[in-house]
Symmetry: D2
Subunit: 402 residues, 4 copies
């Protein structure tokens, strides 16, 4: 797992790995170091007697948001830290890897659980690493490609959306406690669904272009009030990274600026845009429970997810009601605790619960989610205006109550 993070850093210079492109994003070097700090702090410091910190300045530099872990560097100033260098941070990784490996046979079960948590934590940062670097390179007027483009098989345009109907009724969702999951995924609990239908695929770039062409970004009727204010204030008229080019569109990606593929799932759209699209399309977003019930039998290791440090991107579907991979799907559910939710004890209890206001749940993983990280119970969450992740849209609609 740790090797993938380093592979992601391979194409990067020291400068690439240092700069912070916006307060929401972190430098690649910070991701490399913070994920290491997590192991050093919660495993080595707390569970290995006599362990000496690699560098006493690092906890201040590389703690993210754990209030219980004390003072830390201001998030929006992470890009000021040109030293330690990328090479020094890679040394830090090696040293902590070795210390954990050396101690692992004698660690208590609580520490082993924290190692497992640390691996899942690092996988989350692998996805952020990819999207943060993409954002940084998009801010360079030269728009350099991070990876060379991959050869792609031509894929036919997907047919019209098919609708998977559900009669409603009591279902169970949430993680059942077997194997690893983040605290916010449980407890497993019963939910009551209404009769509804959910689309068998996500919205494509071609469909999104039709929304634009129909004036979708200029018609207040489709938009939530906060979304409309955001569109006006920010001058939004297309997904992030899109640019008009003649009659069509290009997008910036890990392989540079290229034409938008009309058959691929649309991505880099905000919740506001997703909701407006659904309104324009006469539909709505699914709730997270509807999504999870529909995806219950899907293989969380399937689909277009991240296997290696390459130019991942959403791809045209080859058919079938795939719920996994490609793009995180905005749901209509605010990110709030499940019935009976309890945050974990101690600093790691700050992992999820304290973010449960103002954000919406996304489901299904993306092309940048490390394969093996996902579960169908997985709850990702972002603010409704954010769109630098690989975020997309699946439609749903109500069915009459029989």
């Amino acid at each position: 797992m740790r090797a993938l993070t380093e592979a992601l850093a391979t194409p990067l210079s020291d400068a690439d790995a240092t700069v912070q492109s916006m307060p929401d994003a972190s430098p690649a070097k910070w991701h490399l170091a913070h994920t290491t700090w997590f192991f050093e702090t919660f495993v080595l410091r707390d569970h290995v007697p006599g362990y000496t910190l690699f560098d006493e300045r690092y906890p201040f530099l590389f703690n993210s948001y754990y209030e219980a872990e004390g003072a830390r560097h201001a998030r929006h100033r992470r890009g000021m830290v040109t030293r330690p260098t990328l090479a020094e941070v890679l040394d830090y990784r090696r040293a902590v890897n070795e210390a954990v490996a050396g101690a692992i046979d004698t660690l208590p079960p609580a520490a082993l659980e924290l190692i497992e948590l640390g691996c899942h934590h690092e996988q989350q940062h692998q996805e952020l690493f990819v999207t943060d670097i993409l954002h940084l390179f998009s801010e360079n007027p030269c728009e350099p490609a991070i990876h060379t483009p991959e050869r792609k098989q031509p894929v036919a345009m997907p047919g019209p959306i098919g609708w998977i109907e559900h009669d409603g009724g009591i279902q169970e969702i949430g993680h059942d406690g077997a194997g690893f999951a983040f605290d916010c995924e449980g407890p497993r609990h019963r939910v009551l669904l209404s009769p509804h239908a959910i689309a068998d695929r996500t919205v494509t770039n071609g469909e999104w272009a039709a929304f634009i062409a129909d004036g979708g970004y200029a018609d207040a009727r489709h938009w939530l009030a906060d979304g409309w204010a955001w569109v006006k204030a920010e001058g939004i008229g297309a997904p992030l990274y899109w640019e008009k080019a003649g009659d069509g569109w290009t997008r910036f990606g890990l392989d540079g600026r290229r034409p938008v593929d009309p058959a691929a799932p649309v991505t880099h759209v905000s919740f506001y845009e997703a909701d407006a699209y659904a309104s324009w399309a006469g539909a709505r977003l699914p709730t997270e429970a509807e999504w999870e019930v529909a995806a219950a039998t899907a293989d969380p290791a399937s689909g277009n997810q991240m296997d290696a440090a390459t130019a991942v991107e959403p791809r045209p579907s080859s058919g079938g009601p795939a719920f996994i991979g490609d793009v995180w799907e905005w749901t209509g559910s605010a990110y709030r605790p499940y019935p009976g939710f309890r945050a974990a004890e101690g600093a790691v209890g700050e992992y999820n619960g304290k973010f449960m206001s103002g954000q919406f749940v996304l489901r299904g993983g993306s092309c940048a989610t490390p394969r093996g990280h996902l579960r169908t119970s997985y709850r990702n969450f972002f603010y409704p205006h954010q769109r630098w992740q690989f975020t997309g849209v699946r439609l749903a609609k109500d069915l009459p109550i029989c």
Copy 2:
């Protein structure tokens, strides 16, 4: 109904009625005129042939947020409109009242429904009128009283919170369609509750003072991340309008600055504060479904609500599990559509649906809610940092699943 609005304006000077104290609040004169514009536009203009607008400039000035009704004055500049004067706006009210009264016998049912909606709409603005004026006067360094204080019967301190337990299971909530309700209150639908307990009264000022004294505002562990950022950025350390006075606290109210009554429900707290208090107290906020089920048999016209233009304020409870009046109770539920929700057609369809992101639901009405306006299905909503309304807290907690 219309007379109460004018009674609320009676103690106000032209200047009092004109100034806007913050972008969230509107001038009293604007409330007087906007509620009148609603009747003039949707009833008289749309349904009375040959009706001539009272003043052609008023639709631009007094439309609030109806995109379908065209351009309008910027919300945060409403306080610039020193003319028309308060007297002219009262003339406008009289003229529209007379025109509606003159036409009412010949209006089609659709117009009568809009009159009913206009009455409920105006009652909402009556509450905002009270809270906006309170905010304005609080910004005056002299802190003038708007009303003379009312004589109050001394009331004993309420006893400890009692807990109303519920086994969970399928229940119905939402408006059933009989009589008036806002579109967001329906459709009536089934919900699945978890076993839980809900407090039989709201949190008091005395209890809140204990939270402060225990360092509640200074301990990040109790707070949502967004709430903690808000506390730090705004320097929050007590409910709005509270000031430290010796060992105790005073609050500013419609009757000026007076000592905080420890027995009365705490008010003017944000969702963030409510959530942090609940966390400190080892509890949580109720969901809106839990609240509505618990309050199902409550009389929505009962309790401490607004009957007249006086110095309304939350009052010590005289006992009993009162769910109605005193303070709007923050729930833990994000304001989102019910299953099957459809916004009304036309401009009035902008009434609720477009606000369904980023806000939390409040229930139960307050001392400033005009009596007769409330229903147990009523869904009020505000952003989690807002606290100039009469907002308070009721606790809930999970019960083990049997």
Copy 3:
């Protein structure tokens, strides 16, 4: 003198007199009260034994910026003070007038000097009163007229600018100490002028329209860097209060919105605009010393100044090198102390000196300057982006050194 202030308030409602339209402007009621506070504080409180304040809350409310006088209400919140009312403030004026009149025969010379200073101080606020109210009414979408328009004699378009040449050499400027002057006008001192020419009239609206038509606001070459940034950030394309109307322009004034008179001096332009215009015209702004030398023999009580509470505005010139009245003329001189300048002792020492950074000097008075207030040594000053005063432009240019 005091009666003119009250006359200025005559057309205003309580609301008109209360609202603050921007942080740079103050409510009319505040001007009425602050000028009174000046007399009450520095004359009555400091020099009349046993004087009791009219209201103990007023010093906090109506001190402007005198740090030595203690805490005061935040400038940008002056518009929140709906009470005391306009009527109460007028009572305050009467009471202080009477107290000063009753004491005047027994006051020491220092107090009499403060009365004189207070009169000049109030005249300054009379001009601000006019421009602040104009700004407030311009923010009302209905753009009400404050005064009915005055009948004007038609005046021919002025001819081309004539140039008054000066050979340079040592001259004297500054106030010589005879009669009243503000501290910043002295000491009188020698200056060394370069050979130059100064225009015999100010720039007209017609000339300004030609600057606009020639793309003057869109060509960076004419602009100071700070000015260009301001134009871009604020979207500036014409003087304040101008609006395009067909082929021509209208302006908002004390008599409402009316066509721009091409023969009248342009007004409501910033220093940045004045400087850009001069650059476009192949000229420059005069220094304040050049201006004062050229205007040395002008009668400071002449020209178009304010005699009464009417719809004052700059007027077409009837000929002659008039330096006085109509518009304050931006000079190219930063507002800095004269050689040997010393601020007065005590609180009134905060009158001028502490504002001597970042601002530019304006000369000559305007249509809103109370007649009798001006001197040719008078130094007005504003920030280079400000333009809600009656500010205009006179050109100058260098002559070769013989």
Copy 4:
């Protein structure tokens, strides 16, 4: 000359050279490239037939503010450009050096003048390079040292300030046209001085510590109004880079954090602070004319200036009325054109004139000024709140007019 810039970059990593610490500062890599762009554009592109740009994307990336040269990257986003790398920019430098060297024998005089201008231009950026990198490293919580500290000879505390008196009268200042100077330094012209005295040395750190200890930052009476607002808004209480350490102070410098030397000139103070200090000391700042007359016979190549890429810093004076080096001295003169000033034609005409508003003149060069760059007529300029340059204070005072 070009080699010094590269020497300054030697201690820097690619990341150090890329990050932008604030909008006022530029990345080191940008300085390296922009100074090269200047030669490539104005010499090679404009004067070498057939010259092909090194990289067509560079003009957009590395133009600073020349509007006539077309669109360019936003100044505050310069730190986003992680590519081209530092190595690529050094290649760019080599290529342009070689092209200029190859063409120099055949260049017309106008191009040779532009080479000379380009050298002076690059020297200015050498100083900014040093101060910008210092600022960047100060933002790193680890506060790394850029250079190892230099051994210093102990120097005695300077004695009290001596005063150089001047009777006033007509003097000449400004560049006389012989040899290179920036356009703003001329034309040479006569000025009229008042009788005054100017200090024979700058203010020391020890004297500044006394100002702090006397409450200088907390007493509004010493401060310009804009300065006081700045102190309050920014929480200023000491020079930039100072930190309280026990009873004394430390400062951050190119050699890391070390104790403040009480004998050395104070530096990293703003104009506001300089002016407040002078007020506290019963003095004032000199005008730029007073300074230039006093410094007329000083050797502009003398004193503590930058000779190499080392840990330059202001040093204790060894005596004598040194006007050159150590710290740029704030004058009381706003940066405005001299009589008869004309900006150069073409793009290089944007070099100085357009910055002549809102800034104050500084004189005398600093420890970071490349030796050979300075003239006694040299006019440096910054905004009154800026203090990341090596800026200091020399006092002056008025003498009675005989």
